[in-house]
């Protein structure tokens, strides 16, 4: 189980990083989402992976650590809000800059009228 779990986290992180480095807003948003999934899984595992353990004290001789679950919940909520914000920002960026590249223009593109942005 540990191997499977760790590979999932690793795969999600690498996909996330790859997509973020694509430097166009839509892949970047997808990449950020994957990255945050990986982070949530990782946080969850910080309480150690276990089967058949009660989450509430007193119901079983062994119990699972409840804190990582609370942390993951917080992280999910915050990550969701941030993703919503970055989606809106990406749409606004596309309209304002005329390109979905995060710099507002392609690296090898000369400044034409629509994308002329002074650095």
């Amino acid at each position: 189980m540990e191997l499977l779990y760790a590979s999932c986290v690793g795969l999600l992180v690498s996909c996330g990083v790859f997509l973020i480095l694509r430097a166009r807003t839509f892949p970047v948003v997808l990449g950020l989402t994957m990255f945050s999934y990986a982070v949530n899984l990782f946080l969850f595992s910080s309480g150690r992976l276990s089967l058949n353990k009660a989450a509430v004290l007193g119901y079983s001789s062994e119990y699972a650590d409840p804190l990582p679950q609370a942390l993951v919940l917080t992280a999910i909520v915050i990550g969701f809000a941030m993703t919503a914000f970055v989606v809106i920002l990406a749409i606004r960026g596309k309209t304002d800059l005329g390109s979905d590249h995060v710099d507002g223009k392609l690296p090898n593109q000369s400044n034409d009228k629509n994308t002329k942005v002074e650095v």
Binding site: L43, I78, M82, L97
Partner: protein
């Protein structure tokens, strides 16, 4: 009420943000401005009351929901965090005042967002729990994202996009670091973590080291430390100047977190992991100072110049954090307050100057003369003397103190020349900017309608900020005593642990 005083700097801005959204307080702009100014003044007074209480009774520990540490979340008001809370609320009050001259109506929800930002910053300063620190970071970040977009144009959208994406990646790394640290330490209360770090054995030591250094990446990103500083000049220079002035405190949140984490958790008592970030911090700080100083020389407008000054101040502060002695930390505390006030003042001045020069705005080129050269010139002179660090203002005291504090550090031979050269670069950059803006005129007709004269409210806000320079050097005695006291407590490991884990008794 009085036992909840520690929580008020967090609670009041939150209530203020909500109140400003509902009728009748948020109904029209006059109501909004008055309510916002009154509420931020109340928050400032509450922080001052907390400061007095902490001075009289020592560190206050507030267990949220009465869940005692290390199980619940605690807020810790020690002299350092309280001082920074006062600074934040003061800056908030000044920015609310300044924006009431018209800037707040350039977009929606300016006032509630300012209060939410103050909520996040105060919470980050006060909290004694690492995960709670993350939550407050997110609160201040989402408020800052929206403020950054406030009244923005195209350039602004691009800077905001970079800033948001970078910080989202930063937040993810923060969570990974916290996950690792929780996995090996089994706690997130900073005092408890500090105790457990020393007991680690075997592979856990390396895991904790990875976690701790990942935290360094996050704080370096928030604090704009090289090589993660590239977002700062564009972000601060495209944000509305009053927002940039408020953001002056945000880089300091990163520096403050470094102080806490690498002095308390990974400090003297951390066994194998003690001072693990020190060597990283030191060299990165030096590189940041060099890069900031070059940026100051290369800046084309006043706002970018100020943004680069922020980078230099961050580098200086981190260098002091890396030295990790009581004297260096007390110099850092003094310098932190000074640099926050003076950079905020410079952002606001850049705005006022830009408004009086028509199309040339705040670019450092010859242009039409400003409408009120005496007033703005005098203000710029005060701010420039303070930021360069010439006597008699606060910058000079801060500079002498930090040079003295680093005298016995390991690499003084590198730090002193570099820092003094950087100061020279700042001197050249700022005086060139000042003389070009105020003395080099081009005979270019400009209609007086384009020139906005300084609004009285704006002037009051500016004077509040600028008075920091003279006042901090007149009251340097009591202030430095306070800073030394705060730094002594920051380094007093056993005292911190005992106070926090026993709930302040």
């Amino acid at each position: 009420m009085i036992q909840h005083l520690t929580f008020l700097p967090v609670l009041l801005p939150m209530l203020a943000g909500v109140i400003l959204l509902i009728s009748p307080f948020g109904e029209n702009k006059t109501n909004r401005r008055i309510t916002s100014a009154v509420l931020s003044a109340v928050t400032f007074l509450a922080s001052l009351a907390l400061l007095l209480k902490v001075q009289a009774e020592g560190t206050q520990v507030y267990a949220v929901g009465d869940w005692s540490a290390p199980f619940g979340i605690v807020l810790v008001a020690d002299p350092l965090s309280t001082l920074l809370v006062c600074l934040t609320t003061f800056l908030g009050l000044v920015c609310v005042l300044y924006s009431s001259a018209g800037d707040d109506e350039k977009g929606s929800f300016f006032h509630p967002l300012v209060h939410f930002l103050i909520l996040g910053v105060n919470g980050a300063f006060l909290t004694g729990d690492a995960f709670n620190l993350f939550v407050f970071f997110e609160v201040l970040l989402i408020a800052s994202y929206s403020l950054l977009m406030h009244g923005g144009d195209k350039k602004n959208t691009r800077a905001a996009l970079h800033y948001v994406i970078l910080n989202l990646v930063g937040s993810a790394i923060f969570l990974i670091a916290l996950g690792i640290l929780y996995g090996v330490l089994g706690t997130l209360n900073m005092a408890d973590m500090a105790q457990k770090v020393a007991l680690l054995q075997g592979d856990d030591v390396y895991l904790a080291k990875i976690g701790g250094l990942l935290l360094l990446v996050v704080f370096a990103l928030k604090g704009a430390l090289l090589p993660l500083h590239l977002w700062l000049p564009n972000t601060y220079a495209t944000a509305m100047p009053v927002v940039a002035a408020l953001f002056a405190i945000m880089t300091k949140v990163g520096v403050y977190s470094m102080m806490r984490v690498y002095t308390l958790i990974f400090g003297d008592e951390a066994g194998e992991l003690s001072h693990m970030a020190q060597s990283w911090l030191w060299w990165l700080a030096l590189a940041t100072i060099a890069m900031g100083a070059m940026g100051v020389l290369a800046s084309k407008d006043l706002r970018k110049l100020t943004a680069n000054l922020v980078i230099v101040s961050v580098g200086t502060l981190v260098a002091l954090v890396a030295v990790q002695t009581i004297e260096a930390s007390s110099a850092a505390i003094y310098y932190l307050v000074h640099s926050t006030l003076v950079t905020a003042a410079l952002f606001i001045l850049a705005d006022l100057i830009g408004r009086q020069r028509g199309n040339v705005a705040d670019r450092i080129i010859a242009g039409p003369p400003v409408a009120q050269p005496r007033l703005l010139g005098a203000c710029f002179l005060i701010a420039a003397v303070a930021v360069i660090g010439m006597p008699p203002l606060s910058g000079f005291i801060g500079k002498v103190w930090l040079l003295k504090a680093t005298l016995n550090a390991e690499y003084t031979v590198v730090f002193w020349p570099l820092y003094l050269l950087a100061s020279l670069a700042i001197l050249v950059g700022v005086s060139k900017a000042g003389s070009t803006v105020f003395w080099h005129h081009q005979s270019q007709e400009i209609e007086s309608a384009v020139q906005e004269r300084v609004h009285p409210v704006q002037l009051v806000a500016l004077i509040f900020l600028l008075s920091g320079g003279p006042l901090m050097s007149i009251f340097a005695g009591p202030l430095s005593e306070y800073a030394i006291g705060a730094a002594t407590q920051l380094h007093d490991f056993n005292h911190n642990i005992n106070v926090i884990l026993s709930g302040g008794q």
